[in-house]
């Protein structure tokens, strides 16, 4: 056994107990950036949507790009952690919570964009099916309404999935603190005492959630892709979009997870817990997804080019050779070439190259979303209406602010909750014996009296 239990608990609780001045500076900086984004949005409400770069006929731009990007990032967590739990990959233990938190926060941020991008954001609740006095329901045929259901389901599910395995850790924090902290964590721990029955119920609930969350995650990004593929817009109206979006989402999600873990490892000194093997395994997953992404992109592009549809081919050429070509080829390099070289060649696969590849994938996947949304709208059927799009400052502020918001939420989370699941690490150190497992079943089935663990 590498690390004894006391040290493990002490190490993982340290970020909760000690706060440096640098931490406050960092939080203040992030708050400032998020504030700038909020001011940008406020200004947009005050002045009108015209202060963005959105125009006729490119009515979706940075905001929808951010929406798709962040919903994509959210697939890091729950999906990956659910799969790793289900296949009982032992190396998952220190990784799962980092991943699940990304999901929760990325969804919250991504879910804001459909509201930010509305002409009348204060009326967003008209998408909610509630019995209004005039009995006007939302239009259930609209993919935007499907979005609302998909995202709210996923957010609820992933919050539960995040919260369940935190219960025993809240109890640990409760037992290691005093005063008001003890009260708050005691409340969050929901009366956890660690009885055999409680453990059994927790395991069962987590298994149910892991199975349930995977189809939800897949459906969410498929439905996000439907926002595009349901509309008769050149290069949007495509059957490949569902799986293409899901693959891209998992791809960017893993990249986001590697970045988050590398940051945590460095700043919270978790080198003994987040080991090179974890990064190595995630990097292999990232490489696989990069290949899958390349395969999908190739399929999408080749069929459009070969089919040579009058409208499609214009949108295709605009990205391939026209004004969007620099962005397009940057995307290909970021998403495919860089991961292939840095992660595909074993000698090059080090901690820093893995971080670099993850960074380029995040950039590349953001560009991918942008290149799906904008060029097609600028190259619809009637050449008279062709146009281009440039973002204006408030869109850029808000975009940057979302990245700061993600970091801020993550920083705060790591301050108040052990970012590595303490009990799961301990459970990994002590694999249950067969007799122990039998005992748990016996208690669950009522054959044996439960005792305090």
């Amino acid at each position: 056994m590498a690390i004894n239990e006391q040290r493990l608990t002490a190490d993982l609780l340290k970020p909760l107990q000690r706060t440096s001045a640098v931490w406050f500076l960092w939080v203040a900086l992030l708050l400032g950036v998020v504030g700038a984004g909020a001011v940008g949005f406020g200004y947009q409400l005050w002045q009108g949507f015209g202060i963005t770069g959105i125009k006729w006929p490119i009515y979706w731009g940075f905001f929808i790009t951010n929406f798709v990007f962040w919903i994509g990032i959210s697939h890091a967590g729950t999906l990956i952690s659910a799969i790793l739990r289900m296949v009982q990959a032992e190396w998952r233990r220190p990784v799962t919570r980092c991943a699940e938190v990304i999901t929760a926060f990325a969804l919250m941020i991504g879910g804001l964009f459909p509201i930010i991008h509305l002409g009348k954001p204060w009326l967003f609740f008209w998408l909610v099916p509630y019995p209004s006095s005039r009995m006007i329901w939302p239009n259930f045929r609209s993919p935007l309404v499907w979005d609302f259901f998909a995202i709210s389901t996923y957010l609820t599910g992933s919050l539960l999935f995040l919260f369940l395995p935190m219960i025993p850790d809240f109890a640990i924090v409760r037992d290691h603190s005093s005063g008001i902290r003890k009260k708050i964590y005691g409340l969050l721990a929901l009366g956890w005492r660690g009885t055999t029955m409680q453990w059994h119920r927790l395991e069962t609930a987590m298994q149910i959630m892991a199975v349930a969350i995977i189809p939800v995650a897949v459906s969410v990004h498929t439905i996000v892709s439907f926002d595009f593929s349901m509309a008769p817009v050149p290069m949007w109206h495509s059957t490949i979009f569902g799986p293409y979006f899901v693959a891209g989402a998992i791809f960017s999600g893993i990249a986001g997870l590697i970045l988050a873990m590398a940051t945590l490892r460095k700043f919270l000194h978790l080198e003994e817990y987040l080991k090179p093997i974890h990064f190595e395994n995630l990097a292999k997953l990232l490489l696989t997804m990069s290949l899958l992404w390349g395969y999908f992109t190739f399929n999408e592009r080749l069929t459009v080019w070969y089919g040579n549809g009058a409208a499609e081919v214009n949108s295709f050429l605009a990205t391939q050779k026209g004004s969007f070509a620099p962005l397009y080829w940057t995307m290909v390099i970021c998403n495919f070439v860089v991961p292939m070289i840095l992660l595909g060649i074993r000698q090059l696969r080090t901690m820093s190259t893995m971080v670099i590849a993850s960074l380029t994938v995040c950039v590349g996947m953001w560009l991918e979303r942008f290149l799906i949304v904008v060029p097609s709208l600028g190259h619809k059927y009637l050449p008279y209406s062709w146009s281009y799009y440039r973002p204006r400052p408030n869109e850029i502020f808000i975009t940057v602010a979302t990245f700061a918001a993600m970091m801020l939420l993550y920083t705060l989370f790591a301050k108040f909750v052990p970012i590595i699941s303490i009990w799961e690490m301990k459970a990994g150190e002590h694999q249950p014996s067969e007799a122990g497992a039998e005992r748990v079943h016996a208690v669950a089935e009522g054959r044996l009296e439960e005792t305090h663990a």
Binding site: Q47, G48, F49, G50, G53, I54, K55, W56, P57, I58, Y59, W60, P114, H117, L118, G119, K120, L123, F124, W126, L127, I136, P138, N139, R141, S142, P143, L144, V145, F148, D227, M230, A231, P232, V233, L377, K380, Y381, L382, P383, Y384, S385, S387
Partner: protein
Amino acid sequence: MAHRWGMAVDLDRCTGCEACVAACHAENNIATVGELQASRGRALHWIRVERYFEGEFPDVKVKYRPVMCQQCDAAPCEPVCPTYASSHNEDGLNAQIYNRCIGTRYCANACPYNVRFFDFFNPAWEKPLHLQLNPDVSVREVGVMEKCTFCTQRITAAKIQAKAEKREVKDGEIKPACVQSCPAKALVFGDLNDPESEVSRLFESPRGSKLLEDLGTIPKVQYLG
């Protein structure tokens, strides 16, 4: 009998004078956004005259095509709207209900003709121009979509008048602003459910075609030429 309003556009008659555009702006209280915003793509033209050029300079032939909402029977803008702001009315028109619109702009993206316009700012008219607003047409506020209605206020007025006089609406009685102002008489409006109407006759013309017909939107605007 229910009406089914349609329009025929004779491209051989259109001179590209854009009187229709000006008339539409005046009739429907469409905001003029100014030079800067127009250059940023915020101009609102419910009807526009597209210009296409054939041949190489100086041997050039110009083609004009007035494009307004095609009032599709299978309109892509309608199913995508989450709040039913974009929906079919009983006369077969694609109605845009400003009060229901929350500005997702999805309808405009789905529209293959790009004839839907978003209000980027609250409209403003320099005094005394605010006195020339049409009282029959609501002024749209910031954040909603707007589009050609075939001058629904004139259709409604004619129907009320006909009902008061206990008769059917006569062919040619309703003239949307663009039709009324077209000096070349390139635009003809009428009821497609009336087989005797001029527009029904023009819809039978062998010169006719519909814009982007192969998308299956079933437009109610016929182009001749």
